[in-house]
Every structure is written in structure tokens, then in C-alpha cells.
């Protein structure tokens, strides 16, 4: 074979090699594009569905506190919703009919929150009875959906919750300026409620924060210490091998199993309070522990052995070496691993269902041992609700959960940077 022929052969192979490389780059790009488009689809759908929750419609009504309908002796026993409905009817130029249909239609348009506000006001000042006061509160969720264009007249009257007359009233209220659209403050200041317009996320956010605090307080010191012992002190023998294998296996145990364990051990065994942030935090700590240990161990492994030798060389004990030099060096890695495992715990739902965190909690959590809601379970509860307005809130709750997680991940990155800059 001549030299020229040999070169030709090589060129042929070279072309093939270049083609293969170009092909693999293309595959990589396609994979990234597909993955990103799924992410955009997911976030876009949630955003589209949920963003409308962040605005709401509020109604301001002059309400005549009719002394004939409010019993001074029994303020709690009076029907303020009815008082509000009558004032609304009057404003619409209607009166109550003998069957109460008109007042019923009116009551379906404004939140019961207005009635509660009146109760609070007359309790504080009974002299208001007989006067007309202005009350401001959210419209009912169905009315809100109408204002947001999610309920239209195009739908057959029998198939929607509000009839044509109610929709006319809503249009007139909007035109008269009694109804204004604005930021949905209630969603961020209230806990769950049976009324969608009253339901908020604050209870779940607080519950999640408290639970994560418990998880972090248990899992981080325990996990880091366990990792330090295994990595820096433990002899390498059969027993530590067994421990290591089991820790790795624990990280792969389905989370619901931890829920069952928590139910059996913490609740039935130790009598821990059911559905509380404390119990939830303990269960999630069990779940996060293996991940924290694994992350810490790999961070410790990454510290160069020369640092250990340097410390031993000047006469530092093993403990001093670990706590003065090795652990601080490993801290960025420990932080990142820990926060990511906590972020994972934040999104965990299944084990919490097992320990009774699915209860309906209309109030903010009172403490670590009282019943609490958490974000993912709140999403689950609202998604299961039959009222349409709750579905909108489901998406909004998911957005809040994602923001919470992104904030935690950002904290991980920032902490990592901060600790690295110290050196």
C-alpha cells in the first residue's frame, strides 16, 4: 500500500470520527431541549393556573344594622350574613321575598367574612346597632371566578353556580365601583378555610417552617457527627462496612416507610402528638439523616489529607484536627448537602399523611405539639376539594412551595460561597 492510499484511509476514518462527535453533540442538545421544554411546560401551567389567585375582588358595602334583626342580648346568635344580604338587596333595588330566595342569592355573592366583621364591630361597640356602617371584604369565590372571567354567561344557567340575575347584580356592583380588584392579602395572612375566598397559605407555610426547623435540629447535628465519626475516627473493619452499606440503603428506602415507622414508634410507641410539626419533623429527620451523612462524608473525604497531616504534625489531637481544620474545610459541602436534603424533606408528602398531618387546620399552628398543616399536604387537600376556586389555590400553593424551595437552594449556594470565601 502506498503512502497516499494510507493517508486516504486515515481521512475516511477521520470523517467518520468527526461525524460521530457531531452526532453525540446533537443528541446532547436534543436531550437538554426536551428537558427544558418539560420544565417550561410544568412551570408555565402552574403559573397560568395559579397567578390569578394572587389577585382578588373585594366588595365595600354600606350595611344597615337593623335593630329588629340584631339581638342586643345575644350578639353571637344573630344572623349577620342575612343583615348583609338585605343591605345588598336594597342596594340592588330589590326586597326580600317570602321564600328567602332573594336573600339567598345575595348571600351567595359576598363572603361570610363581612358578617364576622360586623359581629366583631358590634361586640366592640353595641351602639353601632341601628346605624349604617361600611363593611369591606372579599366577594364569594364563585363571584370572584366570574369577575376573573372563568365563569361566563355562555355556560347554560343550569350548569353554573350563579344564575343570570346574580351575574347582573355582580356587573352592577362592579360598575358602581363597590367592587375593586387588588392583591389577595387574605391568601398570605390566613390559614385554611372551608370557604375558598377565606383560605390562605400562611398556616401551611408556618407549619412547614416549624417542621423543617425540627428536622434540621435533629438531622444536621446527628448526621454530621455520625459522618465525622465514620470518616475520621471509626476503624475500617467489617462492622463499619456494614454500617456504611446500611446507611446507603436507608437513603433509598421509600419515604412512606418512614411514615409508617413514625406512626408505629413515635405516635403509638412514645405517644407523640399526632399531626404536629414535632412529629412530622422527627419523621422527616429520620428520612433526611442518611442523605446528610452521605453528603457530609463525601465533603470530609474531599478535604486533602495534607491538612490532616499538617495538624497532626504540630501536635493537634484527632478531635482538634477534625474540628479546627477538616470540618471547617468541609463546611461548604456539608451545607449544600444538608440544605438540599432539607429542601427534599420540605416537599415530602407521603410520610406526613401516615402520621395524620392531613387534618383540616383552620387556624395557624399554636406550637410544635399542636396540629399543623404543611405546604405539600395543603396542596394535596386543596386538589381534592370539589370547589373550583380551590383548584386555583392549589396551583398558587404549589407556586409558594416552589418559591420556598428555590429560596432554600439559593441559601445553599450563598452559604457555600460565603464559607468558601473565608479561606
Amino acid at each position: 500500500m502506498t503512502d497516499a492510499a494510507q493517508l486516504q484511509l486515515k481521512n475516511g476514518r477521520l470523517k467518520k470520527r468527526h461525524a460521530a462527535e457531531a452526532r453525540f453533540r446533537l443528541y446532547g442538545r436534543v436531550a437538554i431541549i426536551v428537558a427544558l421544554s418539560f420544565l417550561v411546560l410544568l412551570l408555565g401551567r402552574i403559573g397560568l393556573q395559579g397567578y390569578s389567585t394572587f389577585t382578588t375582588n373585594t366588595v365595600s358595602l354600606p350595611v344597615y344594622l337593623d335593630p329588629a334583626r340584631i339581638d342586643r342580648a345575644d350578639l353571637e346568635g344573630s344572623n349577620y350574613d342575612y343583615v348583609v344580604a338585605l343591605s345588598l338587596l336594597k342596594r340592588m333595588g330589590e326586597t326580600e321575598d317570602e321564600f328567602g330566595t332573594n336573600s339567598g342569592d345575595a348571600m351567595a355573592l359576598v363572603s361570610r367574612d363581612l358578617g364576622f366583621q360586623i359581629l366583631d364591630k358590634v361586640k366592640a361597640d353595641p351602639n353601632l346597632i341601628g346605624k349604617t356602617i361600611i363593611v369591606t371584604g372579599p366577594v364569594k369565590a364563585d363571584a370572584d371566578l366570574f369577575y376573573k372571567g372563568e365563569m361566563t354567561r355562555a355556560v347554560d344557567e343550569a350548569d353554573r353556580k350563579l344564575n343570570n340575575r346574580q351575574l347582573d347584580w355582580l356587573d352592577r356592583l362592579k360598575k358602581s365601583g363597590a367592587v375593586t380588584s387588588g392583591f389577595n392579602v387574605n391568601f398570605f395572612t390566613h390559614a385554611d378555610s372551608t370557604e375558598p375566598e377565606q383560605a390562605g397559605i400562611l398556616g401551611a407555610v408556618m407549619g412547614s417552617a416549624m417542621m423543617l426547623l425540627v428536622t434540621a435540629l435533629i438531622a444536621v447535628p446527628m448526621g454530621v457527627m455520625a459522618a465525622v465519626w465514620l470518616e475520621e475516627f471509626a476503624p475500617k473493619n467489617r462492622w463499619t462496612d456494614i454500617i456504611e452499606v446500611n446507611i446507603n440503603n436507608l437513603a433509598a428506602v421509600p419515604s412512606i416507610v418512614y411514615g409508617l415507622l413514625g406512626l408505629a414508634v413515635f405516635i403509638n410507641g412514645f405517644g407523640a402528638p399526632r399531626g404536629s410539626a414535632l412529629t412530622g419533623g422527627m419523621v422527616l429527620a429520620l428520612m433526611a439523616l442518611p442523605t446528610v451523612i452521605i453528603a457530609t462524608r463525601s465533603a470530609l473525604k474531599a478535604v486533602p489529607p495534607s491538612i490532616r497531616e499538617a495538624a497532626w504534625g504540630v501536635g493537634a489531637s484527632r478531635t482538634q484536627t477534625v474540628f479546627h481544620h477538616v470540618l471547617p474545610q468541609a463546611m461548604p459541602g456539608v451545607m449544600t448537602g444538608t440544605i438540599l436534603s432539607l429542601a427534599h424533606a420540605l416537599g415530602e408528602t407521603a410520610p406526613l399523611l401516615m402520621i395524620g398531618m392531613i387534618a383540616f387546620n383552620p387556624g395557624l399552628p399554636q406550637g410544635f405539639t399542636s396540629s399543623a398543616s404543611v405546604l405539600p399536604v395543603q396542596v394535596f387537600i386543596w386538589e381534592n376539594a370539589s370547589e373550583r376556586a380551590f383548584h386555583e389555590r392549589t396551583a398558587a400553593a404549589i407556586i409558594v412551595l416552589l418559591v420556598f424551595m428555590i429560596a432554600m437552594n439559593a441559601a445553599a449556594v450563598i452559604l457555600r460561597r460565603r464559607f468558601e470565601r473565608r479561606w
Partner: protein, 277 residues
């Protein structure tokens, strides 16, 4: 007629003979008797017996894997930190066996400082690097005292002039040679009696190496220095005594001049002249 061996010119120029050569003036600091070291089932050192004088530089030479670093690490019990490593025999420092159960390796390592092949300052400030040892051993009684120790140590290591205006900058920001002198200052700060150096110049350029060698020559006035080196020229330049290791055995030991001009063993001669190793 072949000229006698002693009349040969030296193979490599050697340091001036140590002035306190007489036995009573410079008694051995470290006595090593029948030391065997095992890594698991593998034996790394065989029956090493050696005297290391105080206030002098002793160089260990030999090809890679001959056990010289292993032996060095026996002296301050750094081998304790290696799992499966076992040391037999006696290593006496000032008449006390360092492997005795009542000897705390932490105290021993404060008395026997160590400098490693790769400069390994702590990722902290220059000041903190030097202050760390005195701090953990409670040597300094006050902040001013500690600052004095740091300054004195850096001066002894010949680094003070270069770093006095940036003591609170990270030690890892120094050049390789400066880092190695910082590490020496860190070792000096706990006032050791012995300084072990494991190929201290192998990661440095010739100028930095020259500075470290000068420093070693000054330090031998106060400390017993043991240095492992791959450079025979370095051993010749800085040491007063040399020990040649080969395949886990101590082949020959003697004054540096003797080893480099008139080795008794043919293997030593072969190594020095580059025929083996």
C-alpha cells in the same frame, strides 16, 4: 598501581564537616534499635539500627520506596494514623521510647515537628498558621506573648521580612517556597527539639530550594534535623550525617563526607554515582 580510595576527589562537594563531631559534645538525640515496620502483612523496614545526633542535620537518601519516609514517620509516630501499620523495635528520644504506652503522640509531635513534601499551610491567615500550634498547646500566656512567638518563629524561618506587612492574609496565597518556610515557622513555633523534613524541596524551584537549604543550615544550630531527600547534591550540601536506605534496609550510615567520598558498601557507591535507583 591503583590509587587508594581515600585519595579520590569527592564524588560530590559536601558541607563543611560538623564542628561538634566529638561524641561527648554532641551525644545522639535519637537512638534507633532494630526497628521493623509492617503495612499489614508487607514488611517495609527491616531491622533499622541508627543513632541520630542532636544539633546536626542527618540526611536519609535512597531510591523511591526504600522506606526512608516510612522510617522518618516512625520518629514522631505519624504512622499511627495509617491503618494497618505496625512498628516494632525501640526508638529512643532522650532515653525514652517514643512507642511507650505512656507517651502521648500529641506531646511527642509537639517536640518533633514535621515538614512535608508538599507545602501544606492551613487555609487560614499567615498569623493563624504559626499561632495554631502554640495556641492548642497553651504555650502563649497572652496575646502579646503569642504575637511575639509568631514573630520570632517567622524570623527564624527567614520569612518575617516578606510577610510582616500581610500577616492576616491567607497563607495559601504565598509562593511555594514561602509556603514551605511558613510551614517550617509553624513547626518552630511550638519549640520542638527535632524537625523532620520529608523531601521539603521536591516541589520547589532551585531558588526557593537554595533558601530552604540555607535555612536548614541555620536551624541546625538549635535543632536536631532529619531530612529525607532524593537529591544527593542536597544531602551533600546540607547534612553532616547521611544514611543510605535500600529496599527497606539501612545499608550504610556515616558522616556525609565519608558516605559521599568513600562509601564502604558498593550499593551506596552505585546509588551515589547513579548506577542504581
Amino acid at each position: 598501581m591503583v590509587a587508594p580510595m581515600t585519595a579520590q576527589p569527592p564524588l560530590i562537594r559536601t558541607a563543611a564537616p560538623h564542628t561538634h563531631n566529638a561524641a561527648p559534645a554532641n551525644p545522639p538525640k535519637i537512638l534507633v534499635r532494630d526497628v521493623n515496620v509492617f503495612y499489614g502483612a508487607k514488611q517495609a523496614l527491616f531491622d533499622v539500627t541508627l543513632d541520630i545526633p542532636g544539633k546536626a542535620v542527618t540526611a536519609f537518601i535512597g531510591p523511591s520506596g526504600c522506606g526512608k519516609s516510612t522510617f522518618l514517620r516512625c520518629i514522631n509516630r505519624m504512622n499511627d494514623t495509617i491503618q494497618g501499620c505496625r512498628v516494632d523495635g525501640r526508638i529512643e528520644m532522650d532515653g525514652e521510647n517514643v512507642n511507650d504506652s505512656h507517651i502521648d503522640p500529641v506531646i511527642l509531635r509537639a517536640k518533633v515537628g514535621m515538614v512535608f513534601q508538599k507545602p501544606n499551610p492551613f487555609p487560614k491567615s499567615i498569623f493563624e498558621n504559626v499561632a495554631y500550634g502554640p495556641r492548642i498547646h497553651g504555650i502563649a500566656s497572652s496575646k502579646a506573648d503569642l504575637e511575639g512567638i509568631v514573630e520570632a518563629s517567622l524570623k527564624k524561618a527567614g520569612l518575617w521580612a516578606e510577610v510582616s506587612d500581610r500577616l492576616h492574609q491567607p497563607g495559601t496565597g504565598l509562593s511555594g517556597g514561602q509556603q514551605q518556610r511558613l510551614v517550617i515557622a509553624r513547626a518552630i513555633a511550638v519549640s520542638p527539639e527535632v524537625i523532620l523534613m520529608d523531601e521539603p524541596c521536591s516541589a520547589l524551584d532551585p531558588i526557593a530550594t537554595a533558601k530552604i537549604e540555607e535555612l536548614i543550615d541555620e536551624l541546625r544550630q538549635q535543632y536536631c534535623i532529619v531530612i529525607v531527600t532524593h537529591s544527593m547534591a542536597q544531602a551533600a550540601r546540607v547534612s553532616q550525617r547521611t544514611a543510605f536506605f535500600h529496599m527497606g534496609k539501612l545499608i550504610e550510615t556515616g558522616s556525609t563526607e565519608e558516605i559521599f567520598t568513600n562509601p564502604r558498601e558498593s550499593r551506596t557507591q552505585d546509588y551515589i554515582t547513579g548506577r542504581i535507583g
